[in-house]
């Protein structure tokens, strides 16, 4: 069960330099397993930095991030990468697809690190494509997809390893209303699947959604009640 416990978390950029600044200051947060949490705040408030730290993409300057009682802030690269591979699914604002590859080949990327058989890989990719409703575009190059399709491809890739934690950074910022609503439908599926989801956004569409458990506000690198 992936309970996330964040204690006294600080992130200092450019330490020992004149332009040093704290992107995160003394963050304390608990996210229960299966909870969907919205991180709200203006640009530069530290939402993306917090997601990066939870996902092990960067290391905090101080503090702990406990996932399943394991402090991922202290893990060496090989273990934090394995944690990210197994436990985390990232969804980015700019989709971050591998250009020049098809939808199927993009979703395949995390499975390249496994020793699964061809059949198992095919099954996993198909399941992820179905969840994100993108299987009809599986052989299409991602360069020719619309914004919404690209986002669904990114979602399928994020869930192909069946991670327990989904981290979404401004997932609807580049989408029109119709595609944003489609994302919310997928979010509801995540709720049913009992995934832990943290979404950094300032989109009002997420206000008052039934599937959202909690909304946490951030300002100047700090959590505000």
């Amino acid at each position: 069960m992936s309970k996330i416990l964040i204690q006294n978390l600080h992130k200092l950029y450019n330490p020992n330099k004149p332009n040093a600044f704290y992107a995160l200051k003394n963050i304390n947060l608990i996210v229960e397993n299966g909870e969907i949490v919205i991180l709200k705040g203006v640009s530069g408030s530290g939402k993306s930095t917090l997601l990066s730290l939870i996902g092990g993409l960067s290391k905090p300057s101080e503090g702990k991030i406990l996932v399943n009682e394991q402090n991922i802030a202290k893990l060496p690269d090989i273990m934090s990468s394995a944690f990210r591979h197994q436990e985390i699914g990232f969804i980015f604002q700019s989709f971050n697809l591998l250009e020049g590859l098809s939808v199927y080949q993009n979703i395949l990327a995390p499975l390249a690190l496994t020793t699964l058989s061809k059949e198992a890989i095919h099954e996993n990719v198909n399941r992820a494509m179905q969840l994100a409703n993108i299987e009809h575009k599986k052989d299409q190059n991602v360069g020719s997809l619309s914004g919404g399709e690209r986002q669904r491809c990114a979602i399928a890739r994020a869930v192909v390893m069946n991670p327990q934690i989904i981290l979404a950074d401004e997932p609807t910022a580049n989408l029109d209303k119709e595609n944003s609503l489609m994302f919310i439908e997928i979010l509801k599926k995540f709720k049913l699947l009992h995934k832990t989801v943290i979404i950094a956004t300032h989109d009002i569409l997420f206000d008052d959604l039934d599937c959202i458990d909690r909304c946490v506000h951030m300002r100047d690198g700090e959590l505000v009640e």
Binding site: I78, S80, R84, F90, N96, P110, T114
Partner: protein
């Protein structure tokens, strides 16, 4: 050891970025092609010349005075025969005839099997003679008279390495052409059955006649090897220049490409690829590029040298005034090919993997946000 899935995905990404790798593949292939061609030609010529030397008796004696070759008479043959360990001494007539109309030198070699009025000529000689309509008979000019000799045969192409500029004549006719007396020889071939005695007998010959040069087979082979010794030659310098230039180009290209690829590496990191995985991925991709470029270069060189007979490059090595259509014997020195591999592929991989490693260890959070 990376899994099959990982290797397949690395190749998939390689094909996606094939245009980025094409330039380095092409240049590296070309350098390996040129180097391998040079080595193949030099090894092949070296092999043929050494085989030719080995077919002669153990010691060749030439009379040198003030750096010029002088003839030897029967007395030399008799005296050398008296040395213990020598089983036979054979006089040979050998020299150069200047064909003034074409401004080229022909190598005249005495051959006792030929009649006085006939000769066998190399293919290069035949071509030069034919251009001036000497197709059946050729007229040699010496200081006193004109000597007409019938062109009996053309030496086979396979012997071109030694016969291309050669004219084989009866020894007496050869003497007449070269202006030598009837009991004179230009070279003596000394047969020594015991290989352990060769160098000592060569020394005794020089002691007997201080003006002569007695070259043993080993010395002659050493001289050929020295001539084609690639490490000391200009080709080693060319090799170093070519490789340094290539790696400077590669470094610039890799810098540009990896600047653009930073985001791709960041995406893979966000999907769970660790630094080791990124390095392994780049290693596999660039190993495929460099090894395939290496194999293409070597295969291209083999075809160019041994099937197409190395047009253009061949004449640099043969160094003859006559055009020579010599057939190169396929000889491959695996040690040299391994050296090219070692000094080509390994630095290639290092040059491309280091920038990937530098990117992979940097903070990925900014790269995935942009």
């Amino acid at each position: 050891m990376p899994s099959k899935n990982f290797i397949e995905y690395a190749i998939l990404l390689l094909f996606k970025d094939r245009n980025d790798h094409f330039f380095s593949f092409l240049i590296f292939s070309f350098i390996v092609f040129i180097l391998s061609s040079v080595l193949f030609i030099s090894d092949s010529l070296q092999y043929d010349l050494i085989q030719s030397i080995k077919s002669h008796p153990q010691i060749v004696v030439e009379n040198m005075r003030a750096g010029r070759a002088y003839e030897m008479h029967d007395g030399y043959v008799y005296d050398i025969m008296q040395i213990t360990g020598v089983s036979n001494v054979e006089g040979a007539v050998d020299g150069y005839y200047y064909f003034a109309q074409k401004r080229v030198w022909f190598h005249v070699i005495g051959d006792a099997h030929l009649a006085k009025d006939e000769m066998v000529i190399g293919q290069g000689v035949q071509k030069e003679m034919a251009e001036l309509y000497y197709k059946d008979v050729f007229h040699f000019l010496n200081e006193e008279r004109m000597i007409a000799v019938k062109i009996d045969k053309i030496a086979p192409k396979g012997t071109n390495i030694i016969s291309n500029d050669a004219i084989y004549l009866n020894p007496n006719t050869a003497r007449a052409v070269l202006g030598m007396e009837m009991d004179e020889y230009s070279k003596l071939y000394v047969t020594v059955p015991n290989p352990n005695e060769v160098s000592e007998i060569a020394l005794k010959i020089v002691q007997l006649y201080p003006s002569v040069k007695a070259t043993s087979q080993a010395d002659a082979i050493g001289a050929v090897r020295h001539l084609y010794y690639y490490k000391g030659g200009i080709f080693m310098i060319l090799y170093v220049i070519a490789m340094v230039s290539f790696f400077i180009l590669l470094k610039n290209q890799v810098g540009l490409v990896y600047g653009e690829k930073k985001k791709e590496i960041a995406i893979l990191r966000s999907l769970g690829f660790c630094i080791k995985d990124i390095i392994t991925l780049k290693f596999i991709q660039n190993a495929v590029v460099s090894i395939s470029a290496y194999l293409l270069g070597v295969a291209g060189a083999y075809i160019y040298v041994f099937m197409a007979n190395a047009p253009y490059l061949r004449n640099i090595f043969l160094g003859s005034e006559l055009e020579n259509s010599v057939s190169l014997t396929p000889v491959i020195d695996l040690n040299l090919l391994f050296l090219i591999f070692l000094f080509g592929v390994i630095p290639f991989l290092a040059f491309v993997i280091l920038p990937a490693w530098k990117i992979a260890i940097s903070d990925m959070s900014e790269a995935v946000k942009s």
